[in-house]
Symmetry: C2
Subunit: 192 residues, 2 copies
């Protein structure tokens, strides 16, 4: 099948789904939360997590001030909350109050942990680096909060218990299809 | 619901699904491909894409030598190929030959573009930075290959036409559930 080819300056965004997360921070008595689609693990030892966000965001300033951030992963049932968090600014409102977002207590930092999250990380900022129009914030994961009933014995997400939020771009969200799970042993397939 | 709390040094990996991609590179007459779960966009202007991989990988050396890499996104039907690529090393075999992986021609670089990909990027390396046990490779996206029939008019992935590969951890893969797509206008939800 022939493909359309372009440079990267066009629709460089919506080519695949991404798990939506809520990045949280607290500084100067203010808590905030923002929706982030650009994020990934980047190291096992030490455990490092990177989030990419615009320096214009209120949350960015809170993270720079506090040197901490939280990363929260929510079930599909909370997609409306993610859209609300994504469509408002902490400069104007207290999102936790406005959207009735419940918090758990953090244990190693001051970052808000969302009660509805199936997994959440507390991170200490170890790097803040500009790449193009965004900043890449790298945090060492100093605490992990897990809703145990959402995970299988092998520590993968139990998709029959929890459905993650995937962001497709624009205003679209989707989740996984639990009945499509396949186990493909890479050692076997790699030896074919 | 009470959560289990631990530090980040344990099961820091499988807490949410990630779109699997195949990172490709070519140097010294050798092409290679590896499966990567840690990757994200990090800037719109210029368009930058970051992939995290171990410096022990054969592909890492090819990228360092050529200053280029490809990022390929494949349909769920190609999950076995991703497992095969993930379970073998380019130091020992030619994965393209062994697994009959067809290539499209790149247009701005020498990186292999996978014919089966619904989207693929050609990237020029602009940064190579160590974080913990991995390297974060940042590439400027200089060409985008898109299988047009896989995308809707608004340039989001058309999930009724193509199902992306999500990696759950260990040897597990899953895809999206097209009938769960929800459109949630963040401007409306953010004003509630």
């Amino acid at each position: 099948m022939a493909k359309a080819i372009s440079d990267g300056t066009g629709a460089f965004y919506h080519h695949h789904p991404r798990v939506a997360c809520i990045v949280t921070a607290s500084a100067g008595g203010k808590d905030n939360a923002m929706a982030v689609a650009w994020h990934t693990s980047i190291s096992f030892k030490p455990p490092l997590y990177a989030v990419s966000l615009s320096p214009k965001r209120f949350t960015y300033q809170l993270i720079v001030d506090s040197k901490e951030f939280g990363v929260n992963f929510l079930p599909f049932a909370a997609a409306e909350m993610v859209a609300a968090v994504g469509g408002s600014s902490g400069r104007e409102i207290d999102k936790f109050q406005r959207f009735s977002i419940a918090r758990d207590k953090p244990v190693k930092t001051m970052v808000p942990i969302l009660k509805d999250a199936y997994a959440a990380y507390e991170c200490r900022l170890v790097d803040d680096r500009g790449y193009g129009d965004h900043r890449l914030l790298v945090g060492e994961v100093v605490a992990v909060h897990l809703l145990e009933e959402s995970f299988a014995a092998d520590e993968t997400l139990a998709l029959d218990k929890v459905s993650p939020i995937l962001y497709l771009g624009h205003e679209l969200y989707v989740t996984t299809s639990a009945d499509t799970v396949r186990s493909l042993d890479r050692k076997i397939y790699g030896q074919r």
